[in-house]
Amino acid sequence: MRWFAGAVPVLVGVVLGVMGMQQASAEVPLPPKRPSLNLFGMTGLIDTPTAEMQPDAQISITSSYFGGYLRNTVAFQITPWLEGAFRYSVLEKMLPAPGETTLYDRSFDLKLRLIAESDQWPAVVFGLQDFLGTGVYSGEYLAATKTLLEGDLKVTGGLGWGRFGGNLGLDNPLCWNGNRFCDRGGTAGTGGSVDAGQFFSGRDLGVFGGLEWQTPIDGFALKAEYSDDEYRRERDLGDFDPDLPFNFGLEYRPRRGIELGAYYMYGSAFGLRLSLSGNPFQPLAEVDGEAAPTPIVARPQPADDGTLFGRIVDLREGGPVTTAFAESRISEVTIETDAAGLRWARVALPPSAGYDCPDAQAAAIDAQYGVVDAVIFRHPDGTLVCTVALRPAARQAMRQAVRARVTHPTGWHSDETQRRAAVDALVDALDADRIGLLGIALEPTRVTVYIENAKYRAMPRAIGRAARALAATMPASVELFEIVPVEGSLPVASVTLMRSALEDHVERPDAARAAWLSARVTDAPPAKWHRTERTLDQFPRATWSINPALPVNLFDPDSPVRFDLSVVANGGVEVLPGLSLNGAVQKRIAGTLDENDANNDSDLPRVRSDIARYQSQGDPAIARLTGDYVTKLDRDLYGRLSGGLLERMFSGVSAELLWKPVSQNWGVGGEINYVRQRDFDQLFGLQDYDVITGHASLYWDTGWKGFSTQIDAGRYLAGDWGGTFSLKRRFANGWEVGGFFTLTEVPFDEFGEGSFDKGLFLTIPFNWFLPYESRSEFSTVLRPLTRDGGQRLNVANRLYPLVEDQDRSGLRATWRDFWE
């Protein structure tokens, strides 16, 4: 294993050094400027990089071609100062004859901003091109870019090693006396690992640079660059013969998110580029078209009988002070601060005062004593004349004090008909928002509802709709609303709201923040369903769906893209809450996955590498047929049992425990499985191979820019021991972008091509591009190669994905939707 381990702390230090603070938004945020991409799919000129960065979280897919070289890249702006990319290239005549001469190459890039551009200084970046792969394009570089003419002209210059050097013949300054920097070495054999020893090595130091000019014609830009890349291998093995170290390009953006480019490359070939780009922060569907929520009708405010505050007067804060304090003839003023921090002025009126409220003198007292929230005037004879509220907080406190003295009738609770009517009305109100009422516990002054959200992406929106439904249907005496969202039959968090707080906050400015501050989020206790109204009446319940599917197989040298059009039928019966039978059958309609006859050269138990045989023989295929049980064992402890045909390739039994309090941003879990490999036809037959696998897992939501990590350690399907590290960035709207790698005891050469398992995953919520609410999402895992080392069992209902959005920080992230 060759790791550039020493670079990690250095990298962290640089990262911390370039982090900047996010500015608060005080106007409509301007759409960020999006620099253009190069033929490598990274931010750059044509065949070289620049020091610019894409807007935070920008995702781009680029396909470029020239001279027999097709490059397909997915790039992601991981943070505002770190850009990354995965590339799949089809390079003609890059392998020596005889035999297959086309190289199908996978590679990864990273680019780190060292200095942000300022008025005086250019932006400066450090980049690693093809640092994880066979090294065909591998190189390291430093680049600087300065924008001029109010951004219309960008000038870039850079130095590079490896692929970036050669033409000019400059010597690598790090190479002297034949040290290790003098020899770069060739491309890696199995590839897939980081050969940090190659960084900054080679005899040549390259220079590159160029210009980009935004023409006055809207959407058009011109580029010109000097590239020191000799294309030596392409020249030696193929037909591409660069005549000049210069490239020229014309680019066009017909609309947001689309880039087209045409180029003249190295004086000898024409090139084309198409890039599609999107950003989780800029949904394609900017509005959701949902109807307005049910208004909250406040319970009738009881009239104060005058014994608490006298007559209540609202005086506008900051209104004109028409009476000077010295002229008010008031001499006795006592200031008290209550437990909530409100300042109350108690005034004894002079003997000559009448019983009219001297509200103008309240403003004078406020001016005299500084920030008084309310003034209470008492007549010398002891009569409470009035209370003048000078600020909204005092008015609310007075409302709550008056409200607290009122007792609403609770006789309805002992009347079955009235209770039934309230629950039925609640069911109807929730139905309108596709929120199911799984259970309810109704008491005279509080109600607990277990809701199932089938519609809203953001759970707080469902909680808010449920709160509105409760306010509309519950008798006036019910003051406390406890709302427990149930996800996958698991009650995770309990959100407790005061009805009076809802009435005080609704429709006000900063209402979402006020609602969050007044809400209490705790771990939901394990539900005693047999004691909850309505629950068991709803079981058993069946669900089914039929959906199209598009399984895709990528990166096979014989056919880089294979896919099927299939139909998947899902069905399930939930016998009791958490106890269910589930199945899925997939039938191919048309496609090319069955044409995959790739030879399998794996030396390990073939737990995944026979995927081609599964894809070709499984038609129809039972994708899943399991009995499942999920339950909450304690307030913060969850459990799962699954048994049957667990996934396409394995059947068996699986057990899992997860400890994850809602107030905590981390959790730990453990899983153990006994499985046996299924026959290739994916019906009920089994092969001889069986294994016990299991992992201990640590989950951590860092709380920084949505990054969360997961570390799993244990035994994998091929019997190998090791660990998986996953890092992903999760967005409040449901987007997820991340990567993982797994290292086990299996040596790289035994693992085979790719050296170790790694991949990227992407989740796009349907909400992002559809003009209505949906909980559906598109998810995929992109693996450069499917090998057998470091492979985990695919289990449909692992616990952490069910609970991760329902904890305190998950709810807070989308709480702004509470009133929507």
Binding site: S25, E286, A291, R316, T543, I546, N733
Partner: protein
Amino acid sequence: MRAHTVSLMAALALAACSSSGSNDFQRIGALAKAQLAPAEPQAPAPELTRAELDQIPWATIALSFGDGPRSYLVPLADNGGYLTYLDSAGHGLVMFGGAVTGTQAFGKDLEGVLRDPRDPIAHPVPLADWPGRIDRQYQFAVRDNGAYAVTLACVFDRVAAETVEIVELDFDLVRIAETCTNARRQVVNTYWVEAGTGFIWKSVQWLGPDLDQVTIEIIRPYGG
């Protein structure tokens, strides 16, 4: 080939069905159909007369955008002076006094307005006592994004005394132009105000950078 084609069509016809009713694929299909073959626009509803409006036993406002037809709304909730109006299409408007403080289901909705306590649009004040300038913060939330606010400094100009007709009734009012600005934008709201009480019978107000200005006419005032 024929059997393959039939099975393909049958499978796709069945695809995207579920026990929960319409799912995303069906809704996407419906959206596509609406785009490709939009429904014929309905004829606008006839304007109501004052006599017809007088039969509504509740406070009523009329809402319109540009030269479009009026919609009539009644307040469904009063939360500390914040009145919530809903129309039959599921659009909501929230007002405090004469000021619009929120929209619902209009698109990029106005979430709330942080008002200057001296704002005469929110609290009826005789015209003679109107301040020269107030500040107002309009709060918005874009779908899937963080919230942002637009803060404007507003000044009032008394333009002219006018007689304004609101559904067959005439009112002698004063037209006030409110010019609100910040470094990036300028918006002009217009109010027709009863001078003695400060009550706003008609207004044209800004709802946000992505919505048209709304015209609000009071048909029957809210009594509280």
